[in-house]
């Protein structure tokens, strides 16, 4: 099943905490059930996006890596 991406956020090149801050800002604009895709290069973001998902209750649907780029797919709770 392919996930319908509602919005994309390019956080490549940003370091902690900006990928998370920008993700939170982007998620504010989504409606419940809509999906955000985030690209990041911050190596700490793998643990951070999982933690942010647990703290906020917005499910992390997908977490993957392609070379040095991390991809996170979050669904707004």
């Amino acid at each position: 099943m392919t996930i319908q991406i509602t919005r994309q956020l390019d956080a490549r090149g940003l370091t902690c905490p900006m990928p998370i801050v920008k993700t939170a800002q982007a998620m504010r604009e989504l409606a419940a059930g809509e999906v955000l895709e985030v690209l990041a290069t911050d190596a700490g973001s793998v643990k951070d996006f999982a933690a942010w998902s647990r703290t906020t209750g917005n499910p992390l649907v997908e977490s993957s890596v392609d070379g040095s780029v991390f991809r996170f797919v979050l669904r707004k709770a």
Partner: protein, 187 residues
């Protein structure tokens, strides 16, 4: 100078937001709270204060930063160079330039070489500057509460501070906030 701000009546309860903040996330039973006491005006402490507070607010946590002593000088507006009402307060500001772009390192300051190198490294590795982080923290809804006694001691007026600061308050407010919060830090 005392009384530049409309202080709440003695004994009045602390003003708390009546509604759950818009960044509070669904699913949580109660919005978690974090309180940071920002005492230091050092770059290497202001940085984590702003990183942690903006991240907490971005995580749906109601975040308040009680800004006191040297910390408050970092929250002086850009266009205010010298603060204070008497020569001692003004001299303190002259020796310790206020403002978020002028905070010094707590160690390895070396007459400004340390902060200069730190800012250059931050730019090279795309680390957000304290100014960017302050803007992000405020955009995420972090509440910065200036310490009234520090304002009196250093001769700071509300108009000397950056826009968006909360109502000045004292130690009892800080204690209530800290004891009610899920976590509190003194930095």
């Amino acid at each position: 100078m005392i009384g530049t701000i409309d202080a709440p009546a003695p004994g009045a309860p602390i003003a708390r937001p009546a509604t759950v903040d818009d960044h509070a996330t669904a699913g949580a039973d109660r919005v978690k709270e974090l309180v940071i006491v920002n005492w230091s005006g050092d770059l290497d402490r202001i940085w984590p204060v702003l990183i942690l507070s903006s991240t907490a607010a971005a995580s749906g946590i109601k975040t308040r930063v009680f800004v006191t002593f040297w910390g408050l000088l970092a929250f002086v507006r850009d266009d205010v160079r010298i603060t204070g009402e008497n020569w001692m307060q003004r001299m303190l500001a002259a020796m310790n330039r206020p403002g978020i772009d002028h905070v010094k390192l707590g160690k390895m300051n070396f007459l400004g070489m340390g902060p200069w190198m730190m800012h250059r490294l931050a730019r090279r590795y795309h680390v957000a500057s304290p100014r960017e982080l302050l803007e992000a923290a405020q955009a995420m809804g972090v509440e910065f509460i200036p310490c009234q006694m520090t304002m009196d001691l250093l001769g700071l007026k509300a108009s000397d501070l950056v826009d968006g600061m909360g109502e000045p308050a004292g130690a009892a407010t800080a204690i209530e906030l800290m004891t009610e919060a899920n976590a509190s830090l003194f930095i």
